[in-house]
Symmetry: C2
Subunit: 472 residues, 2 copies
């Protein structure tokens, strides 16, 4: 059957929800972080689980690869369709169920976005804590196992997705996990799907674990003589009984860049921001005092404190201003964010390594980190067509990922594997990569579900003719 | 090859670490909760991962089923060997690695026991929080996905096992997960093994996430007019910013039984015990005040409070005395503990159902619950040979498990599946059970790893001739 053939069948079964308009195809051809353009052959704007199943049936019957699409905020290419194949847009599965005020849960469609969900939850005094920065879809966050700034306190998607509905390529729909808070019943298939990036099945609904909005919050900004001291201060604070909501780090060069951009005069030193939450003002005051004490023990000084929402916004502006400062300092540059995570004892040396690599390759890049988790980002940037600089950038990110794995960490803390972290999976997982590939073959024997991603051959970009077996 | 044949080969390769002494065989024939005696054909006392691999090789070459054994504290039969086959005792893999004081981690052998580990961690100011009650082995706790009283605050094994080493039947050893706190790298195979009860591979090492010992703790005992009020009070407390370390419930009949046994005069009402932890005495006092306030809002009254370790021990004695009271009231009785978990909104009705079922079948049984998690235990008891009473007990537990699943919960909150929860997996997981069986076949195509458990045919007790295919 020709390409038009499967499109005609899709159209027959899904009507106007199938688009081949150039604008729609283009809108699903790029993500926010990967310099590839992969124009799908059709976009299905699914409105229901039945639409997802109908799309998978056509994909199966006509051997057409299908890649789920949430909000397109992916950074490593997870959501890029195979050229000419199906982009399955789930943004129309945007139902938000009743909030359960006793169990602190809600069931949502995979297309629901984080910011809108939290706006809705506010009136219930609850929130969904996982915050990757981008206004991502919940389905995409689950599929890439996103986490973010609040992981130190609340965990990532793994800890906050209670159950999933998943459509398999063979037409079965699985309910995985439950709204019960505990279970030791059977194999944890739910966890296989968290981080599987649409390669095993398509998430059609998620039940989320919510948390009470804290009665009071406050923030502090602390400057340190070096990175190791900042890490030690965060460990001391934990020992004193303080677990911040967020615990963020930037290096001295980045503070310098933000100072210049914002006309600020913050000490140009390794800097921590901590947000603490508590029962009342006294509770958060005590926690701030303990954080100051922990910092002082390791040579840290307080740059500022804030208790009102407005003052906290201003205090965090320097941390949140990193991206703006980058854009202002280097207008027109494209960015690529390095994302590694290492065990805490290796964090200071990994930051030092990143700084040495930048210097060695003649590059500058803001360095920010979720320091409580050992998760480090390098915000690389260059003019989009400056291939020579991009080659040096790739070199730095390659050495950083390699060293993170050697230090017992991971090549991707929270951005997923997509296309560009595939070359590191063998070093990181060893023989387990073969088992992952067996699992992929078990769920997707025809290799039609987002083929080539995550466990695919790292040496080639997936393409329909090449990656999808023609066997019937 | 005859049975003596594979034993001779085992003996050849593992020497004195293989035992066929009747005492050793008997010591591995029973667990703590299941009324079956399954005498193995040999016990391997493994001292190293190499011993595990050697055992698996013999099992593979001679088609002998092998069942890992930790401390034998299993309640549902997970650790029972197949009659005549191999019990692989891992208690000799008891190494405790260096404690990482920055990352709060430690790597241990699967045979290390919980109480000994925490004794060792104390001098570091750290502890491993998962507390199933029994002094279980860490490998067994991971394999059954144990949790317990502290799950409400720290999560269960899933949240506190950072990485696993796993020996597969084919001789490969996988390293799953890492000491990094975040990763979105590949499929979460580690989570498949948590709760797999030795049916997919054998855990040979675990890296655990540790937590700082809280600087201060205190406890409160609260009595409520009914179960629903106790649940609501726990939810209100969460909203006020209090997350207890433990939050335990017993019903009125149980308080009455303990009063009688211990000559206490506690109010014979649905009762909560909460332990809170904080930075200092003032912090825990505030939390106790908020718990009292939350209780009062729902008709609860304070029975007692305690701040010193001794006073807390006395306060909790009534909760911890449940088992003793049971044994004293019904000497010589055998016990069977029902273990279901439901979403919090269904907890009060599930407790009521349990009480109705007991009354209907003319039984009494202490009812205790990890109320913050919706996890409920019924401590059923009868003389071991009173088959008529045991039939009624099975009826109650069957209806309770069935109703827990119907309420969106699970047939086993924390005791695993083993042999006796197998009949409920279809109702709980639907088509996902078939996928679990496919996963089992992927890891264990010869069905030699603890065959019949978890996803095995619920209608038969596994036995070597019947469950293990003879194909080569």
């Amino acid at each position: 059957m020709t390409a038009n053939g499967w499109r005609a069948v899709l159209r027959e079964r899904l009507g106007e929800r199938v688009s081949v308009l150039p604008g729609d195809l283009q809108a699903h051809a790029r993500d926010e972080g990967t310099p590839y353009t992969c124009i799908p052959g059709a976009v299905v704007f699914a409105q229901s689980e039945a639409d997802v199943l109908a799309t998978l049936a056509v994909a199966r019957d006509h051997r057409v690869p299908v890649t789920p699409w949430g909000a397109g905020t992916s950074l490593e290419g997870a959501a890029l369709p195979l050229p000419g194949a199906i982009s399955l847009d789930l943004s129309g599965l945007d139902t938000v169920g009743e909030v359960d005020p006793l169990g602190f849960t809600v069931t949502v469609g995979p297309g629901v976005r984080r910011v809108a969900l939290n706006r809705r939850l506010r009136s219930h005094g609850l929130f969904f804590p996982v915050d990757p920065g981008a206004d991502a879809s919940l389905g995409g966050m689950a599929a890439t196992h996103a986490s973010g700034t609040t992981t130190v306190r609340y965990g990532g998607m793994r800890e906050n997705v209670l159950s999933l509905r998943v459509a398999l390529l063979d037409g079965r729909v699985l309910s995985l996990g439950s709204a019960a808070r505990k279970s030791s019943s059977g194999y944890a298939l739910k966890h296989l799907f968290l981080g599987s990036e649409g390669t095993l099945g398509v998430i059609t609904a998620l039940t989320l674990r919510l948390h009470p909005l804290p009665p009071a919050t406050a923030s502090v900004q602390l400057a340190f003589p070096d990175v190791a001291s900042a890490v030690l201060a965060s460990v001391t604070a934990r020992g004193l009984g303080v677990t911040p909501e967020r615990l963020e780090f930037v290096d001295a060069a980045t503070v310098r860049a933000v100072n210049r951009h914002r006309d600020r005069h913050d000490p140009e030193a390794p800097t921590l921001w901590a947000e603490v939450a508590g029962r009342d003002a006294a509770d958060v005051d005590t926690q701030l005092a303990l954080l100051r004490e922990a910092a002082a023990l390791h040579g840290g000084v307080t740059v500022g404190e804030a208790r009102t929402p407005e003052a906290q916004g201003a205090l965090w502006a320097a941390r949140h201003g990193v991206y703006d400062a980058l854009r202002a300092a280097w207008p027109g540059h494209a960015t690529r964010i390095g994302d590694v995570c290492v065990p805490l004892p290796a964090l200071a040396s990994t930051v030092a390594l990143a700084q040495r690599l930048l210097a060695k390759h003649g590059l500058t890049a803001p360095l920010v980190g979720h320091i409580g988790d050992g998760n480090l980002h390098l915000l690389m940037h260059a003019p989009p067509d400056d291939t020579e600089t991009w080659a040096r950038i790739e070199r730095v990110l390659h050495e950083l990922a390699t060293q993170a794995i050697a230090a017992g960490g991971t090549c991707t803390g929270e951005h997923g594997v997509g296309l560009r972290k595939r070359p590191y999976l063998r070093a990181e997982h060893g023989a387990a990569l073969d088992v992952m590939r067996d699992v992929k073959a078990l769920f997707d024997p025809l290799n039609l579900l987002n083929p080539g991603k995550v466990v695919g051959d790292p040496l080639s970009l997936p393409d329909w003719s090449q990656d999808v077996p023609t066997r019937t």
